[in-house]
Amino acid sequence: MISVDDRDFQAAYKAWLDHVGKQTRAGLRRYAEAVVEAARSHIHSESGELAGSLGIEDHLDQEPPSLEVGAFESGPEPHALETEFGTSHESPRPFMRPALLEAERAYKVDP
């Protein structure tokens, strides 16, 4: 019978997984922050309400881990959806979709 002591391997593997998880979460946060910044640059309203409502909700410590990026409007007349997708009498002025594309390069997992 041959026995192998893999405790060092298991410890190193767990440390590697922890490191990758930490770096992945950091990359996701960078992406989310880049999305918010890019989205703000696409909003041209004078009130600043919509731009001010953009933010990130962090659920990375939950299962499944996630980040929620978007307009968290609290006023009586939310208008993010109408601005993004337009209506039958108003053309869309998208701010989130271009931002999601533009910010893609910000998502990079450091080694």
Binding site: G86, T87, S88, S91, P92, R97, L101
Partner: protein
């Protein structure tokens, strides 16, 4: 010269699908052309569903291939487009008028289309998302298609 544009190529695909919808670029013509006579003389409903294509919402260039266009190489990128489908939602008595099959028929016509009538080489047209929004004030239902075209710039 609609066919010499990305919009024209999309319109050609939708018309070839035989869905009986009008397709406009950027904005529809006046309401009067699209709707029946308003009450009390008419019902004010849309005569037929219609689509609006808005192209160039965003264009992201891909990383350089073959040294980039300045070196004689090809330049490619992803263009974001929106296609809006508007149709009657309910009549004044709240009788449903919306077609539940038309939105899927449009998805089937577009997703994966190569747009042969486009003025540039199109590698793929993908429907990334589609949402449904009810406009209670106009009694219309709006499907917004989020489209991405991978193409030569």
């Amino acid at each position: 010269m609609a066919n010499a544009t990305l919009y024209g190529a999309l319109k050609a695909v939708l018309e070839a699908a035989g869905l009986g919808i009008q397709v406009f670029h950027d904005a529809p013509p006046s309401k009067a052309a699209l709707r029946n006579v308003a009450p009390p003389d008419g019902d004010g409903l849309l005569k037929a569903p219609y689509c609006v294509v808005i192209d160039g919402l965003s264009l992201i260039a891909d990383p350089l291939e073959d040294g980039g266009p300045a070196q004689g190489g090809e330049m490619t990128g992803r263009e974001l487009l929106q296609l809006d489908l508007f149709q009657n939602w309910r009549d004044k008595d709240d009788k449903p008028l919306e077609s539940r099959t038309l939105p899927d028929a449009i998805t089937r016509a577009l997703h994966g289309a190569r747009l042969p009538a486009a003025p540039m080489r199109v590698y793929s047209l993908l429907q990334v998302n589609r949402i449904r929004i009810v406009e209670r004030d106009t009694r219309l239902v709006h499907h917004a298609y989020d489209l991405r075209v991978a193409r030569v710039i």
